[in-house]
């Protein structure tokens, strides 16, 4: 099955969704968003990554910044921070360039490497878009972390790819229903920029009926 453009979801949403599906729904379905220090700093980092709009060639590598990508199969679109095209005889041809190249996506992240796979999922989704658009196969990509100033290599194995497919399917289902799921509050809530609007506490408190009756009966 293929999605049409109107149904595309934001590629970058997969990191929100992997972090917390309610957070994703608040941002992408309800369009609630609050800037906080982290998001503002993130924007600044991304602006600089996208600054030079297009190509630059360093030796045998073409560096493309801010490349828009999409996938009809996943029903998503987004922008890659950086895609490196490495000259390689097993690669694919690129319009207007001689030779063949292997694309390698690089995503810039503020902060340091995380224990979960949120960032890897986003990178893998980008790779899957490029594969679909350029009819190629991509084995690896890199996550660059602002805080450690290091690249981390990510292998796009079957497990990661399957997870990307599964998560986007779920996102499409929720989006179709316009449903904001309830999620158990966890430690992650402390690091979330949307706690004021999500109010994880709602799930620990009484029902409203009990609340009203409780207070009034005290009298």
């Amino acid at each position: 099955m293929e999605y049409n453009e109107e149904e595309y979801l934001m590629l970058s949403g997969i990191q929100h969704f992997a972090f917390c599906r309610r957070q994703w729904a608040l941002i992408h379905i309800e369009q609630q968003w609050q800037e906080n220090v982290r998001t503002v700093e993130g924007n600044i980092l991304h602006e600089s990554a996208h600054k030079d709009d297009f190509n630059e060639k360093r030796g045998k590598v073409i560096i493309s910044r801010g490349m828009p990508v999409y996938s009809r199969i996943l029903g998503i679109n987004g922008v890659c921070d950086v895609v490196e095209f490495h000259e390689n005889k097993n690669g694919v041809s690129i319009h207007g360039r001689e030779g063949t190249y292997l694309p390698i996506p690089v995503e810039y992240k503020h902060g340091k490497p995380k224990e979960d796979d949120m960032d890897a999922l986003q990178l893998c989704a980008q790779a899957m878009c490029i594969e679909e658009m350029m009819l190629c196969h991509i084995d690896v990509g890199y996550l660059y972390y602002g805080e450690t100033r290091h690249r981390q290599k990510i292998e796009f194995n079957e497990e990661l790819r399957n997870k990307v497919v599964r998560l986007f399917q779920e996102m499409h289902e929720l989006y179709h229903k316009q449903y904001t799921p309830k999620v158990k509050p966890s430690k992650a809530c402390k690091a979330c920029s949307l706690t004021d609007l999500c109010v994880p506490k709602l799930y620990k408190t009484l029902t409203v009926k009990e609340y009203i009756d409780g207070i009034i009966k005290e009298e």
Binding site: I29, E30, Q31, Q32, Q34, Q178, T180, K182, D196, L197, V199, K201, L202, T205, T207, V208, K209, Y211, I212, I215, I216, E219
Partner: protein, 343 residues
């Protein structure tokens, strides 16, 4: 919880507000009187007719800073409304509820329960705080009537009936409000609510702080993506912030009335600051208004425990918390809308 930031009150009538980088600059005849970074501000309220630059209006609406213009006498004139925040689906659900008698009645009932419960709490508080000075028996009697009214409100079947019950409860409450004035009795007497125009000092103070509160509530509703103009209890009327007026009902007694009473009882307000016009209408002078605004600002900083969330918040955050809870109810996270019930 979201942070409570400052409100900038500009009370000089001949000043103009402009934007310079990330700052608001107050000008008088081209001369800079003051500048303040926008990131410290939650709202700006300007009294007078001179105005503000479009650049400042845009900067405020982008940053969710409420910019409100009042006449010099504190009558509301205009608010700057920028691009609509939040989700159209939330607002469509809000509109659907507002057009459905049963669904809007359910929310309206809880709001009125909050209103009556809280006005009762004001009376109960007075019997505890000043047992030697107030007529306990009289206040207790009214309090009992209000508690019974809540039971009737719970059972009521239409908004018509609800408005009747609300009106009756408000009359009972206002009927004993004068008993809570314990100082400066000569200059501050309350014999009932009047507003167009206010005919005594207390009514003129009440009208002024109700306006301030209404616009706090309206901007809180906008922040969470609700439309302040479409209410569940107050009927739509062009230019009327009906939902803000609905939500404000819970807060009138505990937030605004108590504030006015305490200013009088603590002698923080001087009766000399009120002028009576030939027809009896009362007008507050500039210094008095400034004095009220200063006290209002510090009241906002006081910390309470929110009864439903069980979380410490400043009084000034209560409109935001209630707006957010209302949005969460409309989105289906809660079984009912939880009113703010103050003990």
């Amino acid at each position: 919880m979201k942070k409570l930031l400052n409100t900038l009150y500009v009370t000089s009538p001949d000043t103009y507000l402009s934007l310079d980088g990330e700052n608001v600059v107050i000008l008088r005849d081209e001369e800079r009187l003051m500048r303040m970074p926008l990131h410290n501000l939650e709202s700006i309220v300007s009294f007078g007719y001179t105005g503000a630059s479009p650049a400042l209006m845009a900067a405020c609406s982008e940053r969710n800073i409420a910019l409100t213009f009042m006449s010099q006498n504190g009558n509301f004139m205009a608010r700057v409304v920028g691009e609509v925040h939040g989700n159209v689906i939330l607002r469509k659900t809000q509109y659907r509820i507002s057009e459905n008698e049963t669904d809007s009645l359910q929310i309206a009932k809880n709001i009125v329960i909050g209103k009556v419960y809280n006005s009762r709490s004001v009376l109960e508080r007075a019997t505890r705080d000043y047992p030697q000075r107030v007529d306990i028996e009289k206040l207790k009697k009214t309090s009992k009537i209000l508690l019974n009214a809540i039971e009737l409100i719970k059972e009521c079947k239409s908004k018509e009936e609800l408005r009747g019950l609300e009106g009756a409860a408000a009359n009972r409450y206002f009927g004993v409000l004068d008993d809570l004035i314990l100082q400066q009795k000569d200059s501050f007497q309350f014999s009932g609510r009047n507003k167009r125009p206010p005919m005594d000092n207390i009514n003129s103070m009440l009208s002024f702080v109700y306006t301030l509160l209404a616009h706090n509530v309206a901007s809180a509703l906008e922040t969470v993506g609700l439309d302040p103009y479409v209410g569940f209890m107050h009927t739509d009327r062009p230019g009327r912030i009906s939902l803000a007026l609905d939500l404000m009902e819970e807060l009138r007694a505990v937030y605004a009335d108590r504030f006015v009473l305490s200013m009088i009882n603590k002698r923080e307000i001087n009766p000399k600051g009120f002028t009576q016009k030939e027809d009896g209408a009362i007008i507050m002078d500039d210094d008095t208004r400034k004095c009220v605004l200063k006290a209002w600002q510090s009241r906002k900083q006081e910390v309470i425990t929110h009864p439903f969330l069980n979380e410490k918040v400043e009084w000034g955050m209560v409109p935001f918390v209630q707006a957010m809870l209302l949005a969460r109810y409309i989105r289906g996270d809660l079984d009912e809308y939880p009113p703010f019930l103050w003990k």
